[in-house]
Symmetry: C3
Subunit: 140 residues, 3 copies
């Protein structure tokens, strides 16, 4: 059985990290599924999906890390194509990845105690975002 | 229902980026499936799969980025094992990842307007490549 | 059909790389499934899953690479939150990713000749670990 859910939310851009774990758990609860896998997919090429411990210190470290390896204040050839100055956003998003697949067993995601599924917005401005959850599994 | 498709193509190696979005959409069209998820998997340990906006400026940025963080002209311990001078290729591929999972709804991949699924060949020479598409979903 | 399997093992931490390809192949053999996709998921936020050629030279290169871009001997804001000095472990794990999805066809994973699925433990101490395998596919 396949059950889909679209999550829509606003972000501040600039490495804003949104914890979507509770939204995924809620969608799983109302899906009627017991065991399976959910694919969490970011629609758009300047956002990413990852798992991490969601706490402000690590969020700052993540921001620092991306600024170090893919700096915002540097010129990218992508910027010459469109002039929207978000070449760094595209590079960061491609590197991190746009999907994570998480198994669920007995109606629960198999995340660790401190492990969350988060969306990270690498764009250089506030955005309205959509994340698609596709659940594939066996009914209860 | 499960539907598989093997994509075969040639690359130039050296960060050659191949846009396989249309091939995936075509395979979905002929799969007879309506809703589900496709897993796009790179066979081999020196290629990767990612999503990105496919345009020449960003392709050049991606090449520059990998050359900066995992330079080709540097010695790697992997090269001592085999002598094929592609240690950088293996490192880059492992970092980027070998699979992406993309949901589809009503016979369409849920990609953003500028978001493509691409194969990137990190090897240091032209290669013949295979990418496996595994569709899991509900029939029409 | 959904078949799950939990892999449990001990690691040395500090970029210890564990080849779990044979465990996945064994679980596939006893699953009764023929065609489908397995999601390999790391429970916990300081470990990662990737594919690579599993040989000691590349394992050393991987360790060197992560030490270069996310050094252990550097202070992270995450460390101020908990005082467990593993901020680098969290950053590395988030960057690499916690899941890989691998198709299987006719009871075999579609891995390349030299391509393995490995778990990498980024934590700064030995750990007991769990990896969940979730197989979705058609029975034989």
């Amino acid at each position: 059985m396949i059950k889909k859910k679209s999550l829509k939310f606003s972000t501040k851009g600039n490495c804003d990290i949104i914890n979507i774990s509770d939204d995924i758990a809620d969608a799983l609860s109302s899906s009627g599924l017991r065991d399976g896998t959910v694919t969490v997919f970011c629609v758009g090429s300047t956002g990413g999906i990852m798992t991490c411990e969601y706490e402000p210190g690590l969020a700052a470290d993540i921001k620092d890390f991306f600024q170090k390896i893919i700096p915002q204040n540097k010129s990218y050839k992508h910027d010459e194509t469109w002039g929207d100055a978000n070449g760094h956003s595209h590079l960061r998003a491609s590197l991190l990845g746009s999907s994570v697949s998480v198994p669920f067993i007995d109606k629960k995601l198999v995340l660790g105690t401190w492990q969350q599924v988060v969306f990270i917005d690498f764009d250089n401005r506030p955005r309205s975002r959509e994340v698609i959850l596709q659940f594939i599994g066996e009914p209860r």
